[in-house]
Amino acid sequence: MNELDLIQQLRAGDEGAFKLLVANYQDLVYNTALGIVQNSEDAEDVAQEVFIQVYRSIDQFKGDARLSTWIYRITTTKALDHIRSRKRKKRFAFITSLFGPNDELVHEPVDFQHPGVTLDRKEQAALLFRMIEQLPENQKVAFTLHKTEELSYQEIADVMQLSVSAVESLLFRARQNLRRLLEKYYQQSNPQDK
């Protein structure tokens, strides 16, 4: 079934078409979400939200971009929303803890290990993901799409609705910021290096 037929059947409310859509795009959605939220349970949660959104708003898909581009766009938006909501909950838990003992524990996540990274690079990749978390949202999205999904500059530009030069600039700044963060990290972990 080609993309156009799939979209038409989805618009008609065909359950089989929806199942096929999930089967075709679940890894793309999950991996993108995982790269941004850096937690497997949250990534599954985001993936479910993405497919529900696709199901609800397939009529609004105009077809001027590829279906995958549209799905990437929904995924990155939902993943960023998820991170914002997580930060809000953390702040709220902190405030309530000021007024007395708080039974609801807010777990500080341990270093995120992406399952697709080779064993010999696990440690470095975990450190890089920790630094990626500190990037501004648009740099984080561009860098994650480039590294974890291996999207080209043009594809990232389509997903983020930016020009290619804007994406180049975003990725350049992301690398600069990551380099700065890593320099600071190594200086703090080895103060005698100064």
Binding site: Q26, L28, N31, L34, E44, A47, V117, L128, M131
Partner: protein, 114 residues
């Protein structure tokens, strides 16, 4: 090798650590769990329905109702206190006009006829 170049090399290794990584596979039975969630969400009337049934919202509405009730009761109590004061005052006026001794200034039966 200097310390700076050593750090640069470590940083480059970290920055390139995601190169050639494999795509993570979605967990098994994602579609089954998705179906369950969709059924639950659509039964509840979607995000608006879920928002309306949130405990925070329910507690807020309950608190607003309680505050409104308390304010009304307080206002009513104040009004009652004020009106009971007025009643006491008017009672005193009546008592002054009609003293307990039974001698009314309006009709004095012992006064001589003109």
């Amino acid at each position: 090798m200097s310390i700076d170049s050593n750090n640069d090399s470590r940083i480059d290794t970290v920055l390139n650590s995601l190169d050639g990584m494999q795509r993570a596979k979605a967990p098994d039975f994602l579609y089954t769990r998705l179906q369950g969630r969709m059924e639950r969400e659509f039964d509840q009337g979607g995000p608006i329905g879920r928002w309306l049934t949130r405990p925070v919202l329910a507690l807020t509405i309950a608190a607003i109702i309680l505050i409104a009730n308390a304010t009304t009761v307080l206002k009513m109590w104040k009004q009652n206190t004020a009106s009971s004061n007025i009643n006491t005052e008017s009672g005193q006026v009546v008592a002054a006009e009609y003293p307990a001794g039974g001698v009314y200034p309006v009709y004095n039966e012992n006064s001589p006829e003109p």
